[in-house]
Subunit: 194 residues, 2 copies
DNA sequence: TGACAAAGCGACATATATGTCGCATAATGG
DNA sequence: CCATTATGCGACATATATGTCGCTTTGTCA
């Protein structure tokens, strides 16, 4: 039952992801996605009825993946420092992956008064992200690897300041060392000196 | 000669500014600006031929104003701490002024591959901003009010991290204390303890 | 105040995106 | 293998934004 449809939808999401990350949400049209996937208009509309729907399915997808990743590693008793390292690396690679990151598209999507006003998927993603970080930090405090810090504060610095820095340095086309510094500061904020 | 035209153009820029700040760059159409100003299509096109042109004129306008403001105050030998306070307050009020700030629209404008690719106005604005901050910080170091810090680093933290935090806290609809904390940290980074 | 220029108007042609529909083709399961 | 359903196609109607143009109205200045 419908294996091909699933594959097509996944292909659509993958192609659309790159488009959203490169151009932002509003800049991407159904026609663009048609061209990227090789589907015709009718073919695409068969699976998704709007860019909004595609976007939301992408966004919801990867916050859930992130969540399970970290929780699985904590259950395997992998050192908190290692999980932290990996999570930061994932942020890093996501940002580097495309000319511009998907984060801005998410911001654009959510801040736009005409779209996604009653939708709370992005807020939900934020809650999930916060939950993941809080769990990791508390876990690290439990294993005596991390200092006693406020998980929420660390999360805010990371997600907000770090991504803000990334965005703006890319905007200004600066090879700024600031993002690297911030990652370093987050680590030193968390990790116990020994 | 042409006083009315100047006044109309200024009105267009003022109305358009609010639209860009609220909705981002791409979301604003010439028709929107018509409605906001009360002008007809033909009337608007008489003055500006695209939203891009209007946007650039706005952006170029206010970085130049900021520059002269700070330099005038330094010439009047106003204490560096006071100028700093005022500049931070201006950032703050600009961010609070609209539902969303113009900063995002600037980012959107510049990062969009299809627009403003060869234009360097935004980069120029960045250079001007950096120049202003560097001058202020060096001035404060000269008057022995500020500690010896790297002006560029402070600027980056301010513009990048601060605005990133602002953006994301608004995105997530959080009444975060982080922006306030960051301003506090910038001040303590700069000001000498006495 | 009258002539000329500037500003403003709205209909029109053009371009592009959306969303739909009947039909064609390909996959699936009995 | 055939019937049925899922998938894919492209033309079409609709909607919205752009940019133009001839005409009217309003300023401006000699």
């Amino acid at each position: 039952m419908s294996q091909k449809g699933d594959k097509t939808r996944q292909g659509i999401r993958e192609k659309a992801y790159r488009l959203f990350a490169e151009k932002g949400f509003k800049e991407v049209t159904m026609k663009d996605i048609c061209e990227a996937t090789g589907l015709s208009r009718g073919g695409l509309y068969r699976h998704y009825e709007s860019t909004e729907q595609i976007f939301l399915e992408i966004v919801n997808g990867f916050s859930n993946r992130q969540k399970s990743d970290v929780f699985v590693k904590m259950e395997q008793h992998i050192p908190a420092a290692d999980i932290l390292e990996e999570l930061l690396a994932k942020y890093e690679s996501e940002m580097m992956d495309c000319e511009n990151s998907i984060s801005l598209a998410i911001y654009e999507f959510y801040s736009n008064p005409t779209i996604g006003k009653e939708d709370n998927s992005v807020k939900k993603q934020y809650e999930i992200s916060k939950e993941v970080w809080a769990a990791l930090i508390n876990y690290g405090i439990g294993t005596n690897e991390f200092q006693c810090v406020d998980p929420e504060a660390v999360f805010h610095v990371l997600v907000f300041a770090y991504q803000g820095v990334r965005m703006y340095s890319r905007l200004m086309k600066i090879d700024s060392e600031i993002p690297v510094q911030i990652v370093g500061e987050i680590k030193s904020l968390l990790l116990k000196k020994d």
